[in-house]
Symmetry: C3
Subunit: 155 residues, 3 copies
């Protein structure tokens, strides 16, 4: 592949690789729990459930992040992806907590998925504007998006 | 990313976004059922099973749709994707029905996946023909594909 | 899409199609077991568990294979993908074996995922070298990668 293609996606690839590392970490947790204890214990069910919830949301996250990165710009999308991975780590660790009341819900990272979703819509809207009207707001939009992605850091 | 890339994928991105919205809708159904009732009831198991079956097939669907859109042409692939999402909605709602006899099987949308699969094969075959023989049937193939995608509407 | 894009991805698309066929094969196994026997038998749980483990790892595999193919070169990535599919088939069949002691673990194909992961890192590293120093080691790296991918055949 020529370098111009890699230039536009390498940040997304790095985030994808980090998410793969995290997946492997989750899977090893499941495997260790499965081997050390007998199955059907409470701890095994907890790890297995946390892993399954994370894996259920994984293709959605990948699809939205790559679409946002391809349609608009890759730096804010990759940044939001990193934040999502941190939230997922926190969710997974929180799921393994002691008290059964502390189990978080099925969904997590809603704000980040919404942000990436908005980026996709803005990117497609901008493309349609360029195609039918010829004015390109992409530079403004990218600047605003980069500034807005910093808002994700606010807890 | 320059607009020429977005031009070739924006319909696929739109279908992906719609599918993400549907995923979030499914996940919220699961979460609401999980919170309103206690776990391990019949309704919760039903929603959870329907959601898991849909999520199992989701990466396969995304991969086939994007390959078909990239290899051949995006309009029929996106159209088939929309039909698939309608079928999935119907499957999910049908799974939540009252009688336990009415639960549909594990697989759904076989016809649409097969259509997208055929599109991929035709696209690659066409590329190999162009490469080794130099004749380009792509225009004919695209016209036929667009006409054939209308056949998916027949129930 | 113009042929130059298809040229760089057609091997990856073929491997993706083969993996989709394998997914459909797994899903049909689950559906047949679900219909022929009543649910909650040992055989059904075994097939269902094998299928779920394979599906859990599927998005990770697809993401790593496509990243490796896009960042470095597609032939070794597609070759490693084929090997992964063979390992997955073996894992699935092994999971259905008679004795309950023979169930393999949760993870499989670690070596191939690691190889694809390394390919991604080398590709990004090479891109950064080209960008900041201007020397292109891609040809050497591709040759080495193609030779190294043959090592995956060693059991």
């Amino acid at each position: 592949m020529d370098p111009r293609v890699v230039e536009n996606i390498y940040l997304l690839v790095i985030v994808t690789l980090v998410s793969v590392l995290q997946n492997v970490f989750f899977a090893q947790k499941v495997e260790r729990e499965c081997k050390s204890h007998h199955s059907h214990t409470s701890a095994f069910e907890r790890v297995s459930c946390a892993n399954r919830n994370c894996m259920d949301a994984y293709p959605t996250f990948l699809a939205v992040m790559w679409c946002a990165g391809l349609c608009l710009s890759q730096a804010p999308a990759a940044f939001a992806g990193i934040i999502y991975l941190l939230v997922r780590q926190q969710y997974f660790v929180g799921y393994l907590g002691q008290t059964s009341q502390s189990t978080p819900g099925y969904l997590f990272g809603k704000r980040i998925i919404s942000f990436l979703f908005l980026m996709c819509i803005v990117g497609i809207f901008n493309y349609l504007l360029v195609r039918y009207y010829g004015s390109d707001y992409k530079d403004y939009v990218e600047t605003i998006t980069k500034a807005a992605s910093a808002l994700l850091l606010i807890p």
